[in-house]
């Protein structure tokens, strides 16, 4: 071992240098995560994919069923609807969250009074658990808003937003955004403070207005952070679960059932293999989206 490295060092080939320089300590750093990841994610994932080809209900006897579950899924309107809902919801929420978070971040990094106090207030929603937020908003939507509507004589406000099959998703977007904005906000603040002040000075001297500075300097310089926020946000919203459970539980009717909810329903309702097939398809879709996002952002030095 030592002799080969010695001779290769003489040749100075790049790969030999990297091989020699690897300290065993790095593998040791990797090991715990690798073991945990394999045991907690990879193995159960593979087991789940295996069971998607059976008729298992999660317990007891099972038999191989081939592609039966996959065939059934593609003709299941409920599953299709959950995909449409989840993707529509994720796209809208990502847009709402990023616009609000970006504008807030611009405000909170400018020269205003009580900057620290305001930042703290805006970050509070992030530390509250999703299910608690959902139940509190559930109460607001079902009781407080309708009472306010009744008192003010606004008839469309008298029925809960959550009870309207066509509009319940808006309530979910609002609550999810309320919780997700702080995370994105922090990343934007970090991005904004990293922009050197002299570029603004230069722009000022050239006569650029504040709005032009925002569009021509701030926006391009935080573009990398926008990409991070969109990818992280979109990934998170695709897994939407707790807030929906607390707000509508998939209702009214089946109008707000997310993919994660249908998968869990199979776990609880004796449709284990079928929903494992659904989860497998969702996994493939998620991988495709990740590859797409990677290829779109490749070359940006910010990542």
């Amino acid at each position: 071992m030592s002799t080969t490295t010695a001779t290769r060092r003489g040749q100075g080939r790049p790969e030999s240098r990297s091989r020699r320089r690897v300290e065993p300590i790095f593998y040791f750093f990797l090991l715990p995560s690798l073991v945990l990841f394999t045991l907690a994610i990879t193995v159960p994932g593979l087991v789940g994919i295996f069971f998607s080809f059976t008729d298992s209900i999660g317990i007891g006897d099972w038999e191989f069923a081939g592609l039966t579950n996959y065939i059934a899924i593609f003709s299941d309107p409920a599953i299709l609807q959950s995909y449409l809902f989840t993707f529509g919801f994720s796209i809208v929420t990502v847009l709402v969250v990023n616009v609000i978070a970006f504008l807030l971040a611009v405000g909170l990094t400018s020269q205003i009074r009580m900057k620290t106090a305001l930042r703290t207030i805006f970050v509070i929603p992030m530390v509250v658990s999703g299910i608690i937020i959902a139940y509190v908003f559930n109460f607001l939507f079902s009781n407080s808003l309708p009472s306010a509507g009744a008192a003010a004589g606004i008839s469309w406000l008298e029925t809960s937003l959550l009870a309207n099959p066509d509009l319940a998703w808006i309530a979910i977007v609002v609550v999810t955004a309320w919780q997700a904005v702080p995370g994105a906000l922090l990343i934007y603040i970090a991005g904004l403070v990293s922009i050197p002040g002299d570029v603004y000075e230069a722009a000022e001297i050239d006569g650029a207005s504040k709005f032009q500075q925002l569009l021509k300097i701030t926006a391009p310089l935080v573009a990398g952070y926008v990409v991070i926020n969109i990818i992280l946000g979109f990934k998170g919203f695709l897994n939407a679960y707790d807030i929906i459970v607390g707000l509508t539980n998939g209702g009214p009717g089946t109008s707000t059932r997310s993919i994660a909810m249908t998968v869990i329903a199979g776990f609880n309702g004796g449709d284990y293999a079928y929903q494992m097939a659904n989860a497998t398809i969702f996994f493939v879709v998620a991988v495709l989206i990740s590859l797409l996002q990677l290829s779109l952002t490749r070359g940006r030095n910010t990542l």
Partner: protein, 423 residues
């Protein structure tokens, strides 16, 4: 340098592993000599009763420590999948538990004292959800009959008799409405209240649900407009009547109200009728202990002979095959079935005790159903006979909120056929 480092690390890793192992092992040794069993019970109206019962049992003997687990139905199902089910459970007997029965996940209880005292004529209620060859997988503990709950004081104040036909029901509703009283209090925000009350009472009052679901099971993947039974053919009429009631005779904010809101509002006399089971009585009594309440079957046809009440095995006892403490669990089971305990439980929850020696003295609030229960004019609700993987509760909620019934029943038929195709 690197050699030294790895040796130190190796020592450190070994130490870490030993520490972890020690931690794991210490988890195995109990701190007392008692055998611990986990008892699942999540009927929220009776958790107070059960907490006291478990405390009494734990104090009464030194061998077993029962731990009450009230974490709910979904958690229990998941625990079976993980191979870590509770040691004993008293749980709602439905399609959910049926899966455990059919795949042999529940142990045989036929040798217990309790099994010999259960009324044999209740067996069809249990068998409806399937059985496992050679086993008595579950024992009924509490049978509940449910029908319309009505406020006797409001009915008397407006001179309204208990309706026995569909047209009498409509007349009563119109009379109440004319007097400014909301006929029905509806809580559509909670989808299960639509399914068990509005949907089940309407369909069960007009259709032989057992026969329907047998035909449906026979048709399997062929369920559709041309099969002997289908949701689109058989459910359209009953649901039309349900929608007539739902459309004209409920509180204005029905869509935003939940079960808790309904119990409070009904106890305050905000409506004359309430489509809930007897479990709601104890909740209503919290705010209005002296309110005069009664029950009657929802009349859906013009023939009083068709009047029926919805029954279900609200609680059944079972012990999972995978439990490691079956003997201790069986001892606790016998304790639960002691006459004074099982009867006290059912009295407190207004259920019917399913043992042969039970003393039947009905509470005045459920008197209106005893006649039908005794002569067997009962049905099981269609919502509990649909496998849970089909979101029937969400569907019924969509119906009362204005979804097209024909399209909804086509979806249901397709869901049923698809399930038959893959299971």
């Amino acid at each position: 340098m690197s050699l030294k480092l790895t040796r130190t690390l190796r020592t450190a890793a070994l130490g870490l592993c030993l520490a972890l192992l020690a931690g794991l092992l210490s988890g195995c040794t109990g701190d007392s000599g008692k055998e611990t069993i986990r008892f699942t019970f999540s009927k929220r109206e009776a958790i107070g009763f059960m907490t006291k019962l478990v405390a009494d049992y734990n104090a009464s003997q030194d061998n077993t420590e029962v731990i009450l687990d009230t974490s709910g139905v979904d958690v229990v199902s998941a625990s079976f999948v993980r191979g870590n089910p509770p040691d004993i459970a008293l749980a709602n007997y439905n399609m959910e538990t049926a899966r455990f029965v059919q795949r042999g996940a529940l142990s045989d209880l036929s040798g217990t004292q309790a099994a010999t005292r259960v009324r044999k004529d209740l067996q069809p209620l249990m068998d409806q959800y399937g059985s496992y060859p050679g086993r008595t997988s579950a024992l009924p503990y509490s049978v509940m009959a449910s029908s319309v709950i009505y406020n006797k004081e409001i009915f008397a104040a407006h001179g309204i008799e208990v309706p026995r036909t569909w047209s009498e029901l409509l007349a009563a509703c119109d009379a109440l409405k004319a007097a400014g009283v909301t006929p029905f209090y509806a809580t559509w925000k909670d989808d299960w209240t639509v399914a068990q009350g509005w949907f089940d009472y309407s369909v069960g009052g007009q259709l032989d649900t057992l026969d329907f679901f047998e035909k449906l099971a026979d048709a399997g993947t062929d369920v559709g407009p041309d099969s002997p039974a289908s949701f689109q053919k058989d459910f359209e009429q009953p649901v039309e009547k349900m929608l007539k009631l739902a459309g004209s005779y409920v509180n204005k904010d029905a869509a935003s109200r939940g079960y808790g809101d309904g119990n409070l509002a009904f106890s305050q006399g905000k409506a004359a009728m309430y489509l809930q089971g007897p479990w709601a009585f104890s909740e209503i009594a919290k705010t209005a202990p002296d309110l005069q309440l009664g029950t009657f079957p929802l009349p859906m046809t013009e023939n009083p002979e068709d009047l029926r009440v919805r029954v279900n095995v609200d609680l059944a006892a079972w012990i999972p095959e995978e439990s490691k403490h079956k003997e201790a669990a069986r001892d606790f089971l016998e304790y639960l079935y002691q006459p004074e305990i099982i009867e006290a439980y059912n009295k407190s929850q207004l259920g019917f005790t399913p043992t042969i020696d039970a003393d039947a003295a009905p509470d005045p609030r459920i008197e209106g159903m005893v006649e039908y229960y005794d002569k067997g004019s009962v049905y099981q609700g269609p919502s509990v006979l649909v496998p849970r993987t089909i979101p029937i509760m969400n569907y019924t909620q969509a119906l009362v909120l204005g979804a097209d019934p024909a399209a909804m029943f086509r979806t249901l038929d397709a869901d049923w056929a698809r399930l038959a195709f893959r299971q």
